[in-house]
């Protein structure tokens, strides 16, 4: 207790030097928490959006389907199993048929993927109901990215050419009935959404689908003939891998920031022991053991961490709360990354994140303070009293 009191007095007595270290360390606190909170927020949002817009509660994939190999699309279709066709409200599913195509907007040519979806499905947040239009052309829904790249707006028409199951090319005009805004680029970029029945008819694949998305609350994911079930973990693996890379780069930043702050504390401790050797000698002469002096100096260093936590709380809590409430706007360019990033990310600062970061910083600051303080045990008190080096 006395060490704590003395360390506090010494720290306060050191004035500006203490506050400079404290402010640098508090910035490390805030930036580390902010950065990790941003990643956590992005992670949460992306998972949420991907679940709502793309993967639902998991997907049945036709056995040959490989999303990374477009050549498999030709044969990646099978009859939707009877067990899944009922569209039972208790067990909703959204079959999707996928086929390759080419779109000719305003005479230009662009490869695209046709995705047929039941307009009445409720599994995904896709505005598929817009496809229920009785028009001569094929009604299509585009995402904002696809609409931008094709320069198409609602009401515009463009020719689509595709190959049916027999390998015969066919073409027809399509009309854009809706442009949807989504944070999930994989359901937007290069994708054209059409009614499932219409696509089955176009490709001469009645009753068939490439993938079947199951509802988020569905527990029954047993085997279905011709299909393989892919759970959420499998479907988010790419995103998980990317998040791991992001976290790793976050940790590098974390280490750099913390190192800068710790360097300042280490430097201060070294300087303090050099400059305050007369004081150290006096403390020993007054009856402190060397161990107690080492504890005192270690405590002084460690208290930088405690003070920094308070200082960080003073400006960090309002700042981070504001960001968590209003979100951080992301630049338009992030759309091109192919990742699920919304135009505004809302960081998540969990109690675990704050406590964990605080504990890690405290422990590291204490270790960094202890290392130079150990040299006190080698000081000769008779030399130290006179301010001499020994």
């Amino acid at each position: 207790m006395i060490t704590l009191r003395l360390a506090y007095r010494n720290l306060m007595g050191a004035g500006l030097r203490t506050w400079l270290n404290t402010i640098v360390l508090s910035m490390a606190y805030v930036i580390i928490i902010w950065q990790k909170g941003l990643l956590d927020g992005w992670n949460y949002q992306a998972r949420h959006d991907m679940t709502n817009w793309e993967i639902g509660g998991g997907q049945y994939w036709q056995e040959d389907y490989d999303p990374y190999d477009l050549f498999t699309l030709e044969k990646s279709h099978a009859q939707i199993p009877e067990a899944l066709t009922g569209m039972n409200p208790q067990r909703p599913v959204a079959p999707i048929l996928i086929g390759q195509a080419t779109i000719y907007p305003q005479g230009r040519m662009q490869s695209c993927i046709l995705r047929g979806i039941d307009p009445e499905q409720t599994v995904l947040h896709l505005p598929s109901a817009a496809l229920q239009q009785d028009i001569a052309e094929i009604p299509v829904v585009l995402g904002t990215r696809m609409a931008e790249s094709t320069n198409l707006n609602v009401g515009d028409t463009a020719t689509i050419r595709w190959r049916d199951a027999n390998g015969t090319f066919d073409a027809a005009d399509a009309r854009v009935v809706r442009i949807m805004k989504t944070n999930v680029p994989t359901v937007d970029q290069g994708q054209i959404w059409v009614p499932l029945a219409r696509l089955q008819q176009m490709m001469q694949l009645p009753g068939e689908a490439t993938i079947i998305v199951v509802g988020q609350d569905t527990n029954e994911t047993g085997p279905q003939e011709g299909f393989v079930f892919r759970d959420r973990k499998y479907l988010t693996k790419d995103f998980e891998d990317m998040m791991q890379v992001e976290k790793l780069s976050g940790y590098i930043m974390y280490v750099i920031l913390l190192s800068l702050a710790l360097l300042a504390i280490f430097d201060t401790q070294i300087l303090a022991i050099f400059r305050r050797r007369k004081e150290i000698g006096t403390l020993i002469a007054l009856g402190m053991t060397r161990g107690a002096v080492i504890r005192l100096f270690t405590m002084e260093g460690a208290m930088h961490g405690i003070l920094a936590a308070f200082v960080a709380a003073i400006y960090g809590i309002p700042l981070l709360t504001m960001q968590a409430r209003w979100g951080i706007p992301m630049p338009d360019i992030t759309d091109n990354y192919g990742l699920a990033i919304s135009d505004r990310i809302f960081p998540i600062y969990s109690a675990g994140l704050i406590t964990g970061t605080t504990c890690v910083i405290m422990v590291v600051v204490t270790i960094v303070s202890f290392i130079p303080a150990r040299t006190i045990s080698h000081l000769n008190p008779t030399d130290a009293i006179k301010g001499k080096l020994s």
């Binding site: 007095r9 020993i284 002469a285 007054l286 009856g287 402190m288 009293i385």
Partner: protein, 248 residues
């Protein structure tokens, strides 16, 4: 060891390594100091005064021989035991005051009592009494940087005396002070010695200090060359006369 002796030194040698050679700072020192003495180790620079004072203060250990302080052999003390001895029974006064710069005068004087875990109320009483004794009660809230040399040394005296130690060790206490302040702090120490029967041991070559000593132990080249008892120290006589005049 004599019952009244609080320090007994026998055949004490202290050597320091300098390069490949050994420098002998003290050689065959034999000394007995009794309770309540006001004595000084005097001699030129390099004669071994401070080294002997440091050994008595358990800040250093002899190379040979023995130094028994308050019944404890300095050579056999562990770091912890030595710190306990310094904490409970020894007070130090240094040439450069060695006050803790970030603490106030009050906190500096309070420091040894904090180490002794003295209860807060008693601690406050003792600190104020010590500051009264050196006429610095009004400077309790000042920082050392705001004090003159004389005032700083008086704070150091208060810090050394606050825990009522058996022995006060003063290393060149007047070296950084002018004559007026030197006499003032020496008179304070004479008074404390007389009132509390605290043993004072000085290491000094200052004539002003020597003038107050009742025992002068002269060192030269690490050896005790003379040990004189003074019945009526030069300045103490004048001080006694002054005290008498004031009381009238």
């Amino acid at each position: 060891m004599d019952d009244s002796a609080i320090i007994e030194i026998r055949g004490l040698c202290k050597r320091f390594p300098i390069g490949n050679k050994q420098f002998t700072a003290l050689s065959e020192v034999n000394l007995t100091i009794e309770k309540g003495e006001f004595c000084g180790l005097i001699g030129p620079s390099g004669s071994g005064k401070t080294t002997l004072l440091n050994i008595i203060g358990s800040l250093d250990v002899p190379t040979e021989g023995s130094a028994i302080v308050l019944g404890q052999s300095i050579l056999q003390l562990t770091h912890f035991q030595a710190s306990q001895l310094r904490n409970k029974s020894l007070g130090f006064i240094f040439q450069t005051y060695n006050l803790l710069p970030v603490y106030t005068v009050y906190e500096n004087v309070e420091f040894p009592l904090l180490l002794l875990k003295t209860p807060a109320a008693k601690r406050r009483k003792m600190v104020l009494a010590a500051l009264e004794a050196v006429d610095l009660a009004d400077k309790a809230k000042s920082k050392p940087a705001q004090l003159s040399g004389g005032e700083s040394q008086r704070v150091a005296i208060a810090r050394a005396m606050v825990k009522d130690p058996a022995i006060v060790l003063a290393d060149e206490p007047t070296a950084n002070l002018d004559a007026k302040n030197s006499h003032r702090i020496l008179q304070t120490m004479v008074k404390l010695n007389r009132d509390l029967n605290t043993t004072f041991i000085f290491a000094s070559h200052d004539e002003k200090v020597i003038g107050y000593l009742r025992r002068q132990i002269s060192l030269d080249d690490g050896k005790v060359v003379s040990d004189l008892k003074i019945d009526t120290p030069l300045h103490s006589a004048a001080l006694a006369a002054k005290d008498t005049r004031m009381s009238k």
